[in-house]
Symmetry: C2
Subunit: 192 residues, 2 copies
Amino acid sequence: MFENIDAFVNRCASFTESELDIFHSLIDFKTVHKKEYLLREGQICDFEAYVLKGCVRNYFINENGFEVIIQFAIEDWWISDIASFHEKTPSKLYIETLEDCELFFLSYENKEELLKRVPKFERFFRLMVQKNLSSTQNRLINTIAKSAPEKYLDFIKLYPTIPQRVPQHYIASYLGISAEFLSKIRTKLSKQ
Amino acid sequence: MFENIDAFVNRCASFTESELDIFHSLIDFKTVHKKEYLLREGQICDFEAYVLKGCVRNYFINENGFEVIIQFAIEDWWISDIASFHEKTPSKLYIETLEDCELFFLSYENKEELLKRVPKFERFFRLMVQKNLSSTQNRLINTIAKSAPEKYLDFIKLYPTIPQRVPQHYIASYLGISAEFLSKIRTKLSKQ
DNA sequence: TTACTTTCTTGAACTAGTTCAATGCACAGG
DNA sequence: CCTGTGCATTGAACTAGTTCAAGAAAGTAA
């Protein structure tokens, strides 16, 4: 049950059995059906969740009422609204399962408890956030500097399994382009 | 000399005098003239720098040879290429001073030393990276979801002092629009 | 002062991407 | 089995933003 998540945390810093036992006692395993919400706009996000199985999307609704997807999370990823989680402020985001999921949840309180009892986790979380930051910066750079076809090609290269699991218009939303335009890009690419 | 940077680190976690003395012994103060480079593409970034005085830009050059600015840093900000710094990989970025600057530099080695001798700094750096991540996420959301005039208005609201300190075409570059279009946006806004 | 460089503005022509509407397709629910 | 709903595709009209070129303004060096 804990193999995958243990491997994940051990990749950043190595933990003893008893440290991992403490960790296990502070995370909650839950299964969640497809199309359920882990978080809605206005709520305070009280979890960081590790995806053991399934697929989740993180999106917000802009002034014109359109959904804009900011992240997909699949197996071995974490998902949360870190701004809301850390500052205990109402979230602007929605987090919704796209498939039946198996998740581990870590609450704010339990995270603090974990850090108190196993300070080595400070380092783990710092390294995790750093990785997240550098991939977000990369995404920002691509978003600003690349054309739509390039963004699409980069996406399928970086996340080759996601297109098979989520509707195409969600990918368009993630890329910040219209679903119709993505369709046109794809037909053009397939003709080459 | 250390008042500002001490206030900065104490905002996240509170440190004793002797802990701060260790910190001070591991950071290097340097003054750098206008238009000098702290980092160039291809180099490995071996610093996280705190801006005591002055203004710095962080940019990369895209496939078409254009500069794209990803961050400005002014007083009380930190600047680095965190991907290059942590993974010791060649940077894709340039970091250049835009004014004469006073900076504190923390090297990779000294950071590790600091974390070893004062583990409380793990928490400080984690919280700092977390804040950085949530502001980068916010910027990503704005970049994807907002029109150019909105982005510009958001920018001057969030960073009201920067437009007076840097050329306008740098702001256009940061916003991901052409300098000409920003000029047109500004004349249109001023007519209203 | 002059001359040189960088910055900002403006207009005209262009293009990447949007919006809207219509069509066909696939598959899940009763 | 049919039927509805969500999804992908396509074309036509549109628009936000780019590119190019020229000129004005402002700062800097001599």
